[in-house]
Subunit: 202 residues, 2 copies
DNA sequence: CTAATTAAATACCAGCCGGTACAATAAACC
DNA sequence: GGTTTATTGTACCGGCTGGTATTTAATTAG
């Protein structure tokens, strides 16, 4: 939780609030066009000077990677824990749908999943950020796969598809939902599409 | 076909090749990050001076709208004609899948549908471009809907879903395919996902 | 020929961008 | 007290952006 790693040291005491900057940056990347969102703007919004931000995160790439890690901890991890629990397959699937169609930052504006949003613009981001995206993607697919395999052994999943492919399919449909929400499609519509798309899994 | 609208006039003869500029711009928007692609770069690539480009297209918004119109004529229209023909539903669906998973500009690089790509970044584009996107989206949904209704009367489509929703569902899945291709997902994987997603329609 | 008309490109504008030198400040050590 | 260490923010850098004022070139009309 404490991200300002304790440093009882010598020099001038640090006033920069790392968590606050990350919160502002996460919100900003979530709501705005990532490509058009400048570091200057993030500095303005978080009330931090530009050199201060560079000292903390090295560069834009470092900031984005840090944001992704924070997003994983705050948003993605609870979902993965839900999948790891012993909730029945169909119920877990419904939870997934609810999660995917209700992700709104904190207020209004475009919704969707920040990770998926960043994954879509992966090629235009920095190397560190790309690596983090790849890690999260791989990790997510593994979670899905294990979940499906567990459901198979529990006899809750009888469709004849490889767990690998089902994981890919679920990932694809959730991505689709996120993209649609970000585009402004009504959440009820997105939900109906997900329900139909997932109806092949039973 | 003649986009340089004939103008047997007075002044200095026009040397700007409108079609060439549009080809270059379409390719560029298709392959590159739309948000990061500058008019300067398009001028460079097409060998046209900046004021020349502004005289022809007014501004960036005008150019994008023109590109979208060209894309509709060159890429989308053939598909819509296919849907309008009397091809059996399942065959038309397969054609759609083939189309969606084979759209590569002319060479390598990211694939996907330019219209869908632009629709995803709709909010960040100009007003004219947004209007054109909305028009194409509406038109596309109408085509899908009519196609489904025709298939229903022909008895080729028996699933109990409103034609409206099926149109939305197909649009969503094709969008998903395009996004995945643009992200670099293997076309065979995208195809398999589409096949499964569309399997609910029979 | 000159005048009018149209398109051409150079060279510029203010405003951003990511990133950084640098001097001021605030603490701990001695 | 002075020195050292670390963080601060101002003010700047070159480079790029969308967009344009302006001059020059090429054609037709009279």
């Amino acid at each position: 939780m404490n991200s300002n790693t304790v440093k009882p040291v010598r020099g001038r005491p640090k006033t920069l609030d790392r968590d606050h900057v990350l919160d502002v940056a996460m919100d900003s990347y979530w709501k705005d066009n990532i490509g058009n969102l400048s570091l200057n703007e993030i500095c303005r919004r978080s009330g931090v000077s530009k050199p201060g931000l560079y000292r903390e995160f090295s560069n834009e790439d470092g900031l984005m990677k840090a944001v992704l890690i924070r997003y994983q901890e705050q948003v993605l991890e609870p979902v993965q824990q839900m999948l790891n629990s012993d909730v029945p397959f169909r119920e877990a699937l419904d939870n997934l749908i609810s999660f995917a169609t209700s992700v709104n930052c904190h207020d209004e504006s475009p919704n969707g999943c920040l990770f998926i949003k960043m994954r879509e613009s992966r090629v235009h981001l920095g190397k560190e950020t790309q690596a983090q995206i790849d890690f999260l993607e791989k990790q997510g697919l593994v979670f899905f796969k294990k979940w499906v395999e567990r459901s198979k052994t529990k006899g809750e999943f009888s469709v004849d598809m490889s767990s690998e492919f089902v994981a890919t399919y679920i990932d694809a449909q959730l991505s689709n939902a996120s993209t649609q929400l970000a585009r402004g499609v009504a959440p009820e519509t997105v939900k109906k599409i997900l329900l139909v798309a997932f109806s092949v899994l039973e």
